[in-house]
């Protein structure tokens, strides 16, 4: 019972005074989506009203008292055509309108800044290119398109920001992406909306939208010194990627400088765009899409790098536009104390082909 009184309190003071029917519109897409939403509400209301009006008026006019003998009517093709075509037309408008918005939400503009988000039971981990990590929170500036590249380490999660009207599932084994451009400074809900196990409802957080200046301040405050691509560079060296991808004429692997965003031709003749998802796949499942002119000798790194590691590598390769630094690192191999996975040995093992079955199989 003691919970009921706060309820009343809410009811009287908060709810009645600022009753909301929809969440704040805090992104560029939000008003567009709401326009469609209200259009649909309007159509539904009109449709509903027609149905209810007809039902009540017929019920009154033709109740048995007033209208004791029913008149048998077969039907009316004209009428039926009307109520087939009008709803169909309206539905089709909704479909086209909706599809336009859908494509907008899931097609990030080229100039979007990219933030990686890793979901796992039961937290969200955001990784900014500058190396800032956040748990269950995401800081972003207003006025800049932000692209999220999402992945899950375990089960399906879903990254939902109602105030932005965007949502995308983070699925295991594949990058998905979504973008938005925040317009209003403030703190908004972040929910995991795909059921993901026990603490699904605790997988929530805050989206903190800052003005561009505040955002800069925040970035500087929360940096831990190493950006994603710096970390990637470190991994690139310690995992010996540089042994093959160094741009030298005799290198066994293709040069990765500038590869991001280009179209690659694969040995099976298909072409594919080298986007984040492709880079990830290339590292974890290299033999599934072998670039033309190369043989499938690249070892898989599945089970040796965490998703965060892959993200760093991807971010590093994205920004790579010359092989100079790689060549440098080649000469001074072990830069840093320890990388993720003992690289050289891993490569050797993989190249020789592990003989035991379970070896390298990651099993949660």
């Amino acid at each position: 019972m003691d919970h009921i009184s706060p309820v009343l309190w809410h009811f009287l003071i908060k709810w009645l005074t600022n009753f909301q029917l929809y969440p704040p519109e805090a992104s560029k897409i939000a008003p567009q989506m709401d326009a469609l939403y209200f259009f649909m509400v309007l159509v539904s209301l009109i449709g509903m009203t027609i149905v209810v009006l007809l039902l009540t008026s017929f019920s009154i006019l033709y109740s048995k008292k007033r209208h004791p003998v029913a008149v048998q009517i077969e039907g009316s093709t004209m009428l039926e055509a009307t109520w087939t075509i009008i709803p169909l037309g309206l539905f089709l408008i909704m479909f086209v309108w909706g599809a336009l918005i859908y494509f907008r939400v899931y097609t990030p503009p080229a100039n979007a800044m990219n933030i990686y988000v890793v979901g796992k039971q039961w937290m969200w981990k955001a990784e900014h290119p500058g190396g800032q990590h956040e748990i269950n929170a995401l800081h972003i500036p207003t006025g800049r398109p932000v692209q999220l590249t999402l992945i899950s380490q375990d089960v399906f999660h879903s990254f939902s920001i109602p105030a932005f009207r965007v949502k995308r599932e983070a699925i295991p084994g594949r990058y998905t992406s979504v973008w938005f451009e925040a317009t209003e400074v403030g703190t908004y809900h972040l929910f995991c909306t795909q059921y993901c196990g026990t603490n699904h409802s605790a997988m929530i957080g805050d989206i903190v939208v800052l003005s561009p200046d505040d955002y800069k301040k925040w970035l500087n405050q929360s940096t831990n010194g190493m950006s994603l691509s710096q970390n990637g560079e470190r991994l690139f060296a310690s995992l010996s990627c540089s042994a093959c991808h160094n741009g030298r004429p005799d290198a066994r692997g293709p040069s990765l400088a500038g590869v991001y965003g280009t179209k690659l031709t694969l040995t099976n003749g298909q072409t594919t765009l080298a986007d984040e998802a492709y880079l990830r796949e290339a590292i974890l499942n290299p033999s599934e899409h072998v670039t033309q002119g190369f043989s499938p000798i690249m070892p898989t790194y599945q089970g040796q790098i965490s998703e965060d590691g892959v993200i760093s590598l991807v971010e590093y390769i994205k920004g790579l536009n010359s092989n100079d630094r790689i060549e440098q690192t080649l000469n001074t191999t072990t830069l840093l104390p320890d990388g993720e996975g003992k690289a050289p040995s891993a490569v050797k093992k993989a190249a020789a082909g592990p003989t035991s079955a379970t070896q390298g199989m990651v099993k949660q």
Binding site: L284, N285, P286, S287, E288, P296, I297, M298, P299, T300, Q302, A350, G353, P354, T355, S356, A357, T358, G360, M361
Partner: protein, 249 residues
């Protein structure tokens, strides 16, 4: 209480009904029609049931083609072909069984059914041999799965001498587990259908010896035949899909 305007219609109501006609059918024809149709509908559900597996198969074969090729090389084509032959023959004997029932030849019916049973058992026997090979080689998905045959083909001289497969890269080799997962799921479901079929078949032989199906009432034999042929058809697709992916050197 029953209605007077709904006049009695059935001129044949007084006809002697054969003993196997169930009370709620008006005529024997109707009963035969209905049960046959029901059997077909049941086969539809079976099509959709296997449909899910075929979908999965098509997707992963597309994604992991080299793994599927390497996996299929592990299957023994001689056994596979033999088994296809066995199953087709059993379909033939089953069809002959139906014919014997229709033409009321009791002994022939029993013999054909027994032949079908034997062939069905032979199929399962061969499948058992094949399965045990897989178990020995650790090709059953799960904890004991081994990719050695694929990362190091020479370690598996029998298959290597036939196909001279190149070693698969590690990541692709791992996907052979998917191939075998589907192999066992599909052939396992098929074998399960065979087992159920064989159980029913044994029951039928028992009854056929008592002359149950040679009285002109052949629905049961016929419907079982439909089932048996359907199981055959499933195998007709499984065989090329699983065994014959790419055999050329």
């Amino acid at each position: 209480m029953s209605d007077s305007t709904l006049a009695a219609h059935d001129a044949h109501a007084e006809h002697e009904h054969p003993p196997y006609q169930r009370h709620h059918f008006e005529t024997m024809e109707q009963q035969v029609d209905a049960t046959g149709f029901a059997m077909w509908l049941f086969l539809l559900t079976e099509i959709m049931f296997f449909g899910g597996l075929f979908t999965a198969y098509l997707i992963y074969r597309n994604w992991y083609y080299p793994a599927f090729v390497a996996g299929s090389h592990q299957l023994n084509i001689v056994w596979g072909t033999l088994n296809t032959g066995v199953l087709i023959s059993s379909s033939f004997t089953m069809a002959m069984g139906v014919w014997s029932a229709e033409t009321r030849r009791k002994t022939a019916l029993v013999l054909w059914l027994v032949a079908t049973l034997v062939l069905g058992l032979a199929f399962l026997g061969i499948k058992t041999i094949e399965y045990s090979e897989k178990i020995e080689k650790h090709h059953v998905p799960g904890i004991h799965y081994s990719i050695k045959s694929f990362t190091d083909p020479q370690s598996d001289p029998e298959v290597y001498n036939l196909y001279h497969d190149k070693a698969l890269p590690l990541d692709m080799a791992r996907h052979t587990e998917m191939y075998f997962g589907l192999y066992f799921a599909m052939t396992g479901m098929h074998a399960l259908h065979m087992i159920i079929g064989i159980a029913i078949l044994s029951f039928m032989i028992f009854r056929a010896r008592a002359g149950a199906y040679t009285t002109g009432h052949v629905t049961f034999v016929e419907n079982f035949g439909l089932y048996w042929h359907f199981v055959d058809i499933v195998w007709i697709f499984l065989f090329p899909l699983l065994y014959l992916i790419s055999r050329h050197g």
